[in-house]
């Protein structure tokens, strides 16, 4: 009685809502998605191969170019892994740790702001873009004041930080943190009870906690499904144990819950930043580097270390042969790559327009997916 017209459609790689060069081959029946197959690799630059051929300190700028909207956390993951390999994790001065935490949390906010702006635009809400980019600009200005770069920061070094905070930086941060909570309220007012927004996100791409773990999801996609797991709490690094923050979790595991989780994460990041300011002021100025040898030649061994990046668990797995100044093997565990894998499972049965919401809610950066 009914005719089934299956069709194969290419979605991307030049589609603006694929956030880069993601291509999805869709099998559709009308507007309904029967199957989806992500095709990736268009941005593959062989970063892991490059790491094997350069000295450890030279790798740091390359980490910027993976998740290029959250380069500070990429730097952090790499330098911490090398520090663990060298066994100098405990020697990093308190001030350097605090600067690292502040930059990472600012980066988390800026990454989430970019996510919110693009996610909302993909679903037809233009306005949040202007609001979020207003605040993101201030964060980028602070990055620029600290290290001179706005996007690819290269702002961390093995054993500490390259520079101390410039004069007036903490005051800028204080002013930003004081007003930022009110800014989040503004974004929330635009979307939280917006009927179109809710129709586009509630009940879309539901993923159960068990499935989320099986797919290896981390970060907001995992917490949106109700699993309270954050590496900053579970396996803390730097001075996170001294800082108070809550881990927001969702209930339904749908796109709307993941949105709420990220909104709350921005608030918590702001809370962490506020706690950092007096702590930094209490540390001696200029104490930002551990005394380590100029040549980084770790002992023979292998370590895996991961941090909570804005997208999820960002891990580095480094094997050192003990003789060379470069890694024998450096594997990056990219959160976007692993999270993207769940896309076909999430979008089956939904409409093609929901795919746009789902790509947005996973929050992928193709530079990190393809490396």
């Amino acid at each position: 009685m009914f005719d089934v017209h299956e069709m194969e459609v290419n979605f991307g790689p030049q589609h603006p809502s694929t956030h880069g060069v993601l291509r999805v081959i869709l099998k559709i029946d009308g507007e309904r998605i029967l199957d989806a197959k992500p095709i990736i690799g268009y941005l593959h630059r062989g970063t892991e191969k490059l790491f094997e051929n350069m000295a450890y300190p030279q790798c740091v700028p390359h980490t910027d170019r993976m998740d290029y909207v959250a380069s500070a956390t990429n730097n952090l993951g790499f330098v911490e892994t090398v520090e663990k390999l060298l066994g100098i994790t405990s020697q990093i001065p308190k001030r350097a740790q605090l600067i690292r935490v502040m930059l990472s949390e600012l980066q988390r906010i800026s990454s989430h702001l970019l996510w919110l702006a693009t996610h909302a635009i993909d679903l037809g809400a233009m306005t949040p873009f202007f609001y979020t980019f207003r605040e993101r600009e201030e964060i980028l200005d602070m990055f620029e004041a600290y290290c001179g770069a706005r996007l690819t920061l290269n702002c961390m070094r093995i054993g500490g930080m390259p520079d101390d905070l410039p004069a007036g930086w903490l005051e800028d941060l204080e002013a930003f943190t004081a007003k930022f909570d009110a800014c989040i309220d503004e974004y929330a007012a635009l979307l939280n009870s917006n009927r179109i927004w809710k129709r586009r996100t509630v009940g879309i791409g539901v993923i159960s906690p068990e499935e989320a773990i099986d797919w290896g999801l981390t970060g907001p996609p995992l917490r949106g499904s109700g699993v309270e797991w954050d590496l900053r709490r579970a396996q803390p690094y730097e001075c996170y144990p001294e800082l108070e923050f809550d881990i927001p979790v969702g209930k339904n595991g749908d796109t709307f819950d993941r949105y709420l989780v990220r909104m709350e994460e921005m608030r918590q990041a702001n809370r962490i930043l506020r706690q950092c300011i007096p702590l930094v002021k209490a540390t001696p100025a200029g104490d930002i580097k551990a005394k380590i040898s100029k040549v980084v030649r770790p002992p023979e061994g292998e370590v895996y270390h991961s941090i909570e990046s804005p997208k999820g668990e960002l891990g580095y797995y480094i094997i050192s042969d003990g003789k060379s100044q470069s890694a024998y093997r450096c594997r990056v565990r990219p959160p976007s790559f692993v999270n993207l894998q769940a896309l076909p499972a999430m979008c089956k049965g939904h409409l093609v327009s929901d795919l746009v919401a789902l790509i947005g809610t996973i929050d992928i950066v193709l530079g990190e997916v393809d490396r």
Binding site: G87, S90, P93, V227, Y304, G315
Partner: protein, 330 residues
């Protein structure tokens, strides 16, 4: 307050020192003891570094061990990483290792399983144990050429189907290979790409274009014609032009000869001929001339840059430096 922070820093480098436990002690670590008890005969060895436990697992029993660990709480497969051990100092054994990072939410601990294989033998896929292994195994297959048996969809993931070679193998050249294999099959025939055991330093190791260059709208100037400098075109490096043939006046103009053979032929001749013999002889025009033109330009002092010969790499550059120094031009 400030002083306190500094003095309270723990003693350097003590924490991450390898504990130096024996394999047997690690097997009885409370973290893994219960599981190892059940699948003990499949766990071949155990290592520890910086507090991280690595269990070496028998390849054929991998799925059994993986399931046992999953049942004991390691529900989250964090990462799956391939390693090519072929150039690891002092390493003897199967070429590839695959490491599985596992995490237990209940114990809040990680462990690592590792298994080894050679080029020919497939590793059993754990994608039925953890769904997340699907793409991760595809990536290892893509980057190392390690096969996984019983994988639902083992195809390349980052490189395209038809790509020659596996980029993270140690014998894959760091500068890459010509990658037109899929798009220009007539130019890059199947089975091209890096040859096993090649260093990647020799242009002949990789699949290079042999036909006429028509896309740029020019031919390499005939040897009898005048030597005009063209735009430098580094993307042409490695191409061997049709003019790259030995002739009576330039018997060394043959890319198949080694550099010392070529220089031997030119040793009695003038500086320009010697410089010419030191070039890579491919007439690739990456430097902006053909090989003879570059030699002439160096001999005449039109350029002082000796680093322009891309296919000749280090050996040409150091030979040019030596010749120029001997001639008192540097």
């Amino acid at each position: 307050m400030a002083e306190e922070n500094v003095t309270h820093r723990p003693a350097p480098a003590a924490a991450a020192k390898p504990a130096g436990r024996s394999a047997d002690e690690i097997r009885h670590d409370p973290l893994v003891a219960a599981t190892v008890e059940r699948v003990g005969e499949s766990v071949l060895d155990a290592k520890e570094f910086a507090g991280e436990i690595t269990l070496i697992v028998d390849r054929d029993d991998l799925v059994k061990v993986a399931k046992a660990f999953k049942d004991d709480g390691f529900k989250y497969l964090v990462d799956l990483a391939g390693v090519d051990y072929s150039t690891y100092p002092g390493y003897k054994g199967d070429r590839f290792g695959v490491s599985y990072m596992l995490y237990s939410f209940g114990k809040n601990k990680r462990i690592r399983l590792r298994t080894y294989t050679d080029e020919a033998t497939a590793i059993p896929s754990v994608s039925a144990v953890w769904k997340t292994a699907n793409w991760q195994e595809r990536e290892v297959y893509d980057m190392f050429g390690v096969e996984f048996s019983n994988h639902p969809n083992l195809e390349r993931i980052l490189m395209w189907e038809g790509f020659n070679g596996h980029p993270l193998r140690k014998d894959f050249p760091i500068r890459g290979i010509d990658t037109g294999a899929r798009i220009y099959p007539e130019v890059f025939p199947e089975g091209g790409g890096p040859k096993a055991g090649s260093t990647g330093k020799d242009a002949k190791d990789v699949n290079v274009y042999q036909g006429p260059w028509t896309n740029r709208g020019f031919g390499i100037p005939a040897r009898t014609g005048q030597k005009t400098q063209m735009e430098p075109a580094p993307e042409l490096a490695g191409a061997v032009a049709e003019t790259a043939k030995p002739s009576d006046e330039a018997p060394w103009h043959d890319p198949d000869l080694a550099i010392d053979q070529r220089l031997d032929m030119a040793k009695a001749l003038d500086l320009k001929a010697k410089l010419f013999a030191a070039m890579a002889q491919t007439d690739c025009t990456a430097c902006g001339w053909d090989c003879e033109g570059y030699a002439a330009a160096l001999a005449a002092g039109e350029t002082k840059d000796i680093s322009l010969c891309v296919p000749g790499e280090q050996e040409t550059e150091s030979m040019l430096q030596k010749l120029m120094k001997d001639a008192g031009k540097m």
